[in-house]
Symmetry: C2
Subunit: 282 residues, 2 copies
């Protein structure tokens, strides 16, 4: 039995995410599907911009090479629109998992409209409102990161608060890039927490505040990577800050979320769900 | 004929993106598919975290309400794993476009392994290397944005250069959040450009440089939104800077990309493709 396990462990299977565009769609859905098969050792390859027959031929060579090496049919997740390019990709020795064809066909049937046949997403170029909202939101997040400035809070959609290293900055940037939301963030320091009330700069924007919570063990771990052995990263200090900040959230009625186990994507989407905040793009 | 067109124009169809997790996968693929039907006026709704029967029932009510209002079957794109919840969602009056079931079934068949049945992605929590790489990359991008500091360039994976407002900052942040890549960025100013050579801080990192190009009309437009009527946003100034910077890219052999028509996602993925830079996460 042991020998068989070892043997299984070596059977790596290659999965390709192939697209005529960025391959973000193919990769996102493909990885979600692979995550349902945690016991299978996958090696993944992303092939974006396969938008002509020459690149498709190159992809076919890569797929066939993986097949020969693995001895297992590679999984090919693709979102290619052009029938010629798709046919070429399908000629490889693979288990082909077309993500578009079936779904596009069903939408065409239901709507009675033929698909346009263009590649990838509609361009989100610099002339579009979407592009502008997004870039403005990114610059807003940068300018208003880490409590650097508080005078633009009237223009913020949301102000994230939390102790140092609780995930405010990446969440603010993700909200900006993905949803065009203008997110400021403000770290509550030890002095703020000792006062047991909101700093003056935050008081008049109380309705925009959203609190992040992170459990003490994780906070200690993150802070120790930054400043090992310091008071800042000590268990006692982290615990005290956590307790104090949760007291403020409760007494001030500020909505909050325990982000200890969450990815940045999950924090951002949970915040939208909890606050009802509307995305400006997407 | 005119009357019919007007009538068609009013027939909005609602599309739902439903998931037991963030709904990012359902939304990404769903929007890509809808973009193939540009003539159909869709109204979209994202319903994340539909992870119990109560929330599923609420989703069903929303779908049925949309059906009654539109007079057209709503499109329901879902990535729900639980059979009970999926069955509930399927009970609504809708055109159901399940993204997972078919593909997961085919992968199970090909690998001979049963799917795990958990919801959404594996957690990318603060204990994981992925989380750490990502957060470190975000902080690196922030600390090294806009030429603020140059002393950490030895630790950069890539240094984006370009004129002011050519898209360096959002691209750096996207590379960090999506791929864990440490991207610094440095704006070449008029003085740098007049010298017709690279600033000293960049010279020793020439192999890490990547240049962004943006066409003059677009640059003028973007800069005018920032400082209308200024020399900075004048056509002549923008054109001069563009010509000078492209001269530097060419004479120094720096790879570059015209990003005028590109979304941030496309810029980032094209850069990976052109440079061969390896992502640190994903």
């Amino acid at each position: 039995m042991k020998a068989l396990e070892v043997d299984n462990a070596q059977n790596i299977r290659t999965a390709f995410f192939i697209s005529d565009g960025t391959a973000i769609t193919a990769e996102t859905l493909g990885r979600a599907i692979l995550s349902q098969f945690a016991s299978v050792p996958f090696e993944t390859r992303v092939l974006p911009y396969v938008d002509n027959l020459e690149r498709a031929e190159d992809a076919v060579v890569q797929i066939n090479t993986a097949y020969q090496r693995d001895g297992l049919l590679p999984l090919v997740f693709d979102t290619i629109v052009s029938p010629e390019i798709r046919e070429k990709i399908n000629s490889a020795h693979s288990c082909n998992l077309d993500m578009y064809e079936g779904l596009i066909g069903r939408v065409a049937e239901e709507t009675g409209v033929e698909p346009d046949g263009h590649s990838g997403h509609a361009h989100d170029n610099v002339d579009s409102e979407t592009y502008k909202e997004r870039i403005d939101a990114v610059h807003f997040a940068l300018d208003n990161d880490d409590g650097a400035r508080t005078r633009h809070y009237h223009a913020a959609d949301i102000i994230l608060i939390g102790v140092s290293r609780s995930g405010k900055t990446p969440t603010s940037l993700y909200l900006a890039l993905q949803f065009g939301i203008r997110a400021a963030n403000y770290p509550l320091t030890e002095e703020d927490l000792n006062d047991n009330q909101l700093p003056k700069a935050l008081r008049e924007h109380k309705h925009k505040l959203f609190g992040l919570i992170i459990d003490t063990d994780r906070l200690v771990k993150i802070r120790q990577e930054r400043r090992a052995g310091s008071r800042y990263s000590s268990y006692q200090q982290c615990q005290q800050e956590q307790r104090a900040i949760q007291g403020i959230y409760t007494s001030q009625g500020i909505p909050s979320l325990d982000v200890s186990e969450m990815s940045v994507e999950e924090i951002a989407t949970r915040i939208l769900q909890m606050t009802g905040l509307k995305r400006r793009i997407g």
